[in-house]
């Protein structure tokens, strides 16, 4: 059970699938066994989404269960909170500092929790990143996913060149420059 488990969580449409694809490919090319579990269909329509990535010598289950996550990589704060309980004892949270209120909050039926950062810090080491601003500075607010992937990449033991190579091969050709910039910025955050 020495494999690494990463939960990439966010709101449908934020690009969790692309991130997990890049991460999975990097692990694969580093000689690991890899399993990735994605979410398609109804849940993608603006709902809470989670993608599971596991890599190591041999991985059986494609899901990162409770207590099996080394990292929770969150594209939205509330989603970080929702999944933080899946972390291992010494797990790490990397979260975008952006708030996207879900419909029940917008309608006033439920409250968006306050002090999420503090709640997260009580559970695990937390890096709160202003990924939205960094992404916009790089030329596209949509590059939030790659900024955060950059932050994660710094923590993992894969070669940086491999990351950029896989990103170049994975993202749409027109967006390569912005995405590489976003990745590098993220890589330098922590």
């Amino acid at each position: 059970m020495t494999d690494t488990g990463i939960l990439i969580v966010g709101v449908g449409g934020q690009g969790t699938l692309l991130s997990s694809r890049i991460l999975g490919e990097v692990a694969l090319r580093s000689g690991m066994d890899v399993k990735v579990s994605e979410v398609h269909g109804m849940a993608q329509r603006g709902g809470s989404v989670v993608t599971h990535v596991r890599f190591g010598k041999k991985v059986y289950c494609p899901l990162v269960g409770a207590g099996q996550a080394d990292y929770v990589l969150a594209f939205e704060k509330l989603e970080a909170l929702r999944w933080a309980g899946y972390l291992k004892k010494d797990g790490v949270i990397i979260s975008n500092n952006q708030e996207i209120p879900p419909i029940p909050v917008t309608l006033g039926h439920q409250k968006y929790p306050e002090n999420i950062r503090e709640s997260l810090e009580k559970i695990a080491t937390t890096y709160m990143v202003d990924a939205g601003r960094i992404a916009s500075d790089c030329g596209s607010a949509k590059a939030v996913n790659v900024v955060l992937l950059g932050v994660l990449a710094r923590k993992l033991n894969f070669e940086k060149e491999l990351w950029t190579k896989v990103i170049e091969e994975t993202v749409p050709p027109k967006t390569i420059e912005i995405n590489i910039k976003a990745f590098n910025k993220g890589y330098g955050v922590v």
């Binding site: 709101v11 066994d33 890899v34 994605e38 269909g41 109804m42 207590g67 929702r82 879900p102």
Partner: protein, 590 residues
């Protein structure tokens, strides 16, 4: 070379390597990507069919004609295709025939949690079940071999976590499988009573041989470890169980119908306590019990939803299994100390054309029979405009049923809503029923020019085929007219006032009527909005909340009402409903 493939991509790769020539399918989560990926291979004729019944019949025809053929669908699609399924089991095949069906334990994107394995048993068709992408590819190829060796269709049963998980797959070459000769053989292919009776007997014999195959095949394997605990599992459940109790002995089944009696008995003899761990129904467990074996199954493990390593390990602990052999990592988890984490249900996208329709239906307080697609989300708050959703096509026929039960007055306050792809799939037959049997229903076809929920597949009314080539474009208006509807009109759901008037006129009419609410899906690449986002003038906004009633994810209400410009699609619906004209297009606002 190894690639990281989705289970669904691996099935497509398997079909390619198996020399498949014809694939027909109707999209449905979690099965859709199989066909999308098959379509990338020029060697394989691939199509979207109007529904699963047609898809399977196309595949049956191709198989009889001598080609290796495949039909793909989600679990509920197999209900639609059940008719050809049962009789194709009688005719058998010529070229290999594989039916891929993807179940959805946990109902991530489905209206029920049915277990497709029963179809195999009921139709006497073998069922293979992979547990990762490599097996998905290998089993697909094997399924074609079994199909041709035993003259039978074969079901490949997938499930969400296998279909939508990526794992490593060794990529191979396409094998050169020739088109077999076609010979007319009415004793085999014309299923009328005299011939079908003969084929029925052949079916019984075939099943015996398949059972023997199941006993010996490598795809059912025993992994002996700690013999104090023996687990029989297949597919995703095998992965969870392996994670929960890695040191146990396993009988890993790759063929879940017919089940290997002798293999199960010999495994049972070798282990102290025998468990069957499976998702959904007690399919394997029931069989094991018929063998008179002492087994623990669903009296311990949950009967509903997906399994997980956590559930399995905690249940095994409950059953007295030594803690040392269990993976109990979840017991050390720290849950966040927060009273309540708000839910984040899916919602119609910003700019979704359906939003205008539901806004009007809610305003008119109508009874709405709904259907399957993105637009089912209109049932949720704040739009809350749907009374029923059963299955593909049921909106139209059940609205007719409502009318026949409660009378024409009730019909004056009822509409059926159905998507364009769903209408072609099975709404049209309901509409024929309405017209034929003197109904007066109003049907709103939500025509967003694509199959939306499953991720934008073409269909007969989009004007393109699966490979994006121009195709004959079904004319929805003429189709409705042709079945006898005299009142057919096309409206833009974003012109709210006009749309409302149209609905009021049509529900008042004492005859069947169809409103085609036509506006393409906001996510379609070819129509993606270049409109500037809207913004709220906070000085004139009176915070009445009418715009929030649209349920648009881009409109938020933190201290003030505002629009998230990265999410706003610029559709302008909120500006239309704002009573104080406080919502305007971005460039005017600045």
């Amino acid at each position: 070379m190894k690639k990281l493939l989705l289970g669904n991509e691996a099935v497509a790769q398997g079909a390619y390597e198996a020399g498949v020539r014809v694939v027909s399918a109707y999209p449905g989560t979690p099965s859709t990507e199989i066909t999308e990926n098959v379509a990338r291979f020029d060697e394989i004729y691939t199509e979207w069919a109007p529904n699963e019944k047609v898809a399977l019949e196309v595949a049956v025809g191709a198989a009889i004609a001598g080609a290796r053929a495949m039909a793909c669908m989600k679990h509920v699609g197999l209900n639609v295709a059940a008719d050809p399924l049962f009789t194709s089991s009688y005719t058998g095949i010529n070229g290999g025939l594989v039916i891929v069906v993807a179940d959805d334990p946990g109902m991530h994107s489905s209206q029920n949690e049915q277990d497709s394995r029963y179809y195999g048993r009921a139709a006497h068709i073998p069922v293979l079940e992979p547990s990762d992408s490599q097996e998905a590819k290998d089993f697909t190829k094997l399924a074609f071999e079994i199909s041709e060796k035993y003259d039978t269709p074969v079901i490949l049963r997938m499930a969400t976590r296998i279909s939508h998980s990526r794992s490593l797959v060794e990529i191979g070459q396409r094998s050169d499988v020739h088109l077999k000769d076609y010979t007319k053989d009415i004793g085999k292919y014309v299923m009328m009573p005299a011939m079908a009776r003969r084929r029925r007997n052949i079916l019984v014999e075939r099943e015996k041989s398949l059972k023997q195959y199941s006993e010996e095949a490598e795809l059912n394997r025993i992994e002996y470890n700690d013999r104090s605990i023996g687990i029989i599992a297949a597919g995703g459940a095998y992965n969870y169980a392996k994670e929960a109790v890695p040191g146990a002995s396993f009988l890993k089944l790759g063929m879940v119908y017919p089940l290997p009696e002798k293999l199960i008995k010999s495994f049972a003899r070798e282990v102290e306590r025998l468990f069957v761990i499976e998702e959904l129904e007690t399919f394997i467990e029931d069989y094991v019990r018929t063998l008179g074996l002492d087994v623990i199954g669903k009296e311990l493990f949950p009967k509903t939803g997906e399994l997980s390593y956590e559930v399995i390990a905690s249940k095994l602990k409950e059953a007295g299994i030594n803690k040392e052999v269990l993976n109990l990592s979840f017991e050390n988890c720290k849950a966040p100390n927060v009273n309540e984490i708000p839910l984040r249900p899916p919602a119609l996208c910003p700019g979704c054309p359906h939003r205008g329709v539901y806004y009007v239906l809610k305003k008119l307080n109508l009874t709405v029979t709904g259907d399957i697609g993105c637009y089912t989300l209109g049932a949720l708050p704040p739009l809350s405009s749907m009374d029923t959703c059963i299955c593909m096509g049921a909106s139209v026929s059940s609205a007719h049923g409502l009318e026949k039960a409660r009378g024409k007055e009730f019909a004056r306050k009822t509409v059926a809503v159905i998507g364009d792809s769903t209408f072609i799939h099975s709404g049209i037959t309901g509409l024929i029923d309405v017209v034929y049997n003197n109904g007066t229903s109003t049907v709103i076809i939500l025509d967003n020019s694509t199959t939306g929920m499953t991720g934008h597949q073409e269909h007969p009314a989009t004007g393109y085929d699966i490979k994006g080539r121009p195709a004959n474009k079904l004319n929805m208006e003429k189709l409705c007219e042709a079945v006898g509807v005299k009142r057919v009109r096309v409206e833009d759901p974003f012109e709210i006032k006009k749309f409302q008037k149209a609905v009021q006129e049509e529900i008042s009419a004492d005859e069947p009527s169809v409103i085609i609410a036509r506006r393409p899906c906001a996510l379609l690449k070819r129509v993606k909005s270049k409109n500037k986002p809207y913004c709220v003038n906070t000085e004139t906004c009176i915070e009445c909340g009418l715009c929030l009633e649209l349920g648009c994810p881009a409109i938020t209400n933190r201290s003030l009402i505002s629009i998230d410009e990265t999410m706003c699609n610029g559709c302008g619906l909120c500006a239309d409903v704002c009573p104080t004209n406080s919502i305007t297009r971005g460039d005017i606002c600045d």
